[in-house]
Symmetry: C2
Subunit: 244 residues, 2 copies
């Protein structure tokens, strides 16, 4: 099993000022690559918390993707902190430096030079969108926080990932309550242990109440069969199937 | 300092099927209550991961808010797992049972009865929206995953929280690059250590490039002064202030 975690580094998510969208983007892409996303953490721009989280996650999962903190201002501490987490020096990456100098020309300065600093042993990652340098340190990929830039970096690094059979999923939506279907749904989950069946109720009074039943996994045959059983279950309880 | 963590329990967020909105809702409310949100974790409906995360977070922060997994189906394992994390029994809460029986009347059944199970020592929380029972176990508040239901539960539990001076923030938006302002902005952060200054660039080629500079904290005077310094800095670099 190939697994992953996401580490969102950014005060702006924890303060509520910014709604994160990077988690969902990476989650969807990993699902299609067959990589199981097993944990997400969101932490502030705080050295101690970043070191602790990076070291916990890189030991537990195949890949770790961090977002945020790779820009040119005082609150961009990802590179320096990842170096500390790996107990290596922070050094200037010559390729990153060349890219920044070439792009900024006479506007190149010491503040921008700071973006070329990376942990010793890190590899520069492609950034098809802007010039901010992203990097890979062993199984940790450090990406931008700005969604449009992060998307480009993520697409560009995919060839470096070990991938496998994608996850597939089906969904049945019906107008029944969890309390009605719960027991039989649990039996279907037991009958199809290779898939994961999730029950997600919606509750918009007065009339739009029901549940989305999601079957997910890599075993297409089991997904298909479990979905048929769920459909039969809904009909058996007199429920109405509907598009969600 | 009053601190908090959020634990989002749900496969549907990690698979990418659902975009979480609960984190941002709780983050904003905590900020207004003066409670510092210092960590968020998203984990699957997995007993081992829930126990590990709940025990780590409840030891580290004043409050922990969990979302998800309190419904009536097989994948709702929050109550049973929180009981294991606290090493107490899972018992039927008589008030929750009475509410469920009263609401469902002749539709009450064993599946719905399961929702009345809580860790021994837990307190039932108000649910002004639906009947799903939320509960509090020491400093851990276990809420619904469905946003409309969670919102109601969260508003209802606020009187139980210790609160303090709210966080305030100001924002200056300008058309300058981080590489231009970075050095001076870092100086301003050093001059105003009681506030946190964040730099959030936006990058929409060809013309809409700039940065949002956010000053946040509880020291209103320092926020005001640091914001004025930032405004002066933007003017000094020939930048244009703009609404974001």
């Amino acid at each position: 099993m190939i697994t992953a975690a996401i580490l969102v580094i950014g005060n702006e998510i924890l303060s509520g000022r910014t709604k994160d969208t990077n988690i969902n983007f990476i989650a969807k892409r990993l699902s299609g690559l067959g990589i199981e996303l097993l944990e997400v953490r969101v932490i502030p721009d705080n050295e101690g918390q970043i070191i602790e989280a990076v070291n916990a996650l890189r030991a537990a999962y195949t890949y770790v993707f961090t977002t945020g903190g790779i820009g040119a201002t005082h609150d961009d501490i990802t590179a320096a902190t990842i170096a500390k987490a790996f107990q290596v020096d922070l050094i200037e990456n010559s390729m990153a430096l060349a890219i920044l100098q070439e792009y900024y020309q006479e506007r190149f300065n010491e503040t921008r030079r700071r973006m070329a600093l990376m942990p010793e042993g890190a590899n520069l990652l492609d950034n098809p969108v802007s010039t901010a340098p992203a990097f890979q340190m062993e199984n940790v990929f450090c990406l931008a926080g700005m969604p449009s830039v992060m998307h480009g970096m993520f697409e560009a690094l995919i060839p470096q990932l070990e991938t496998t059979e994608p996850f597939y999923q089906s969904m049945v939506t019906c107008n029944l309550a969890e309390g009605v279907i719960g027991e039989r749904l649990g039996q279907i989950q037991t009958e199809y242990p290779t898939v994961s069946i999730g029950s997600y109720p919606f509750y918009h009074l007065p009339a739009n109440i029901g549940v989305n039943l999601v079957v997910r996994g890599k075993d297409k045959k089991a997904i298909s069969e479990a979905t048929q059983e769920i459909t039969k279950m809904v009909e058996g309880f007199g429920g109405i199937l509907s598009p969600s």
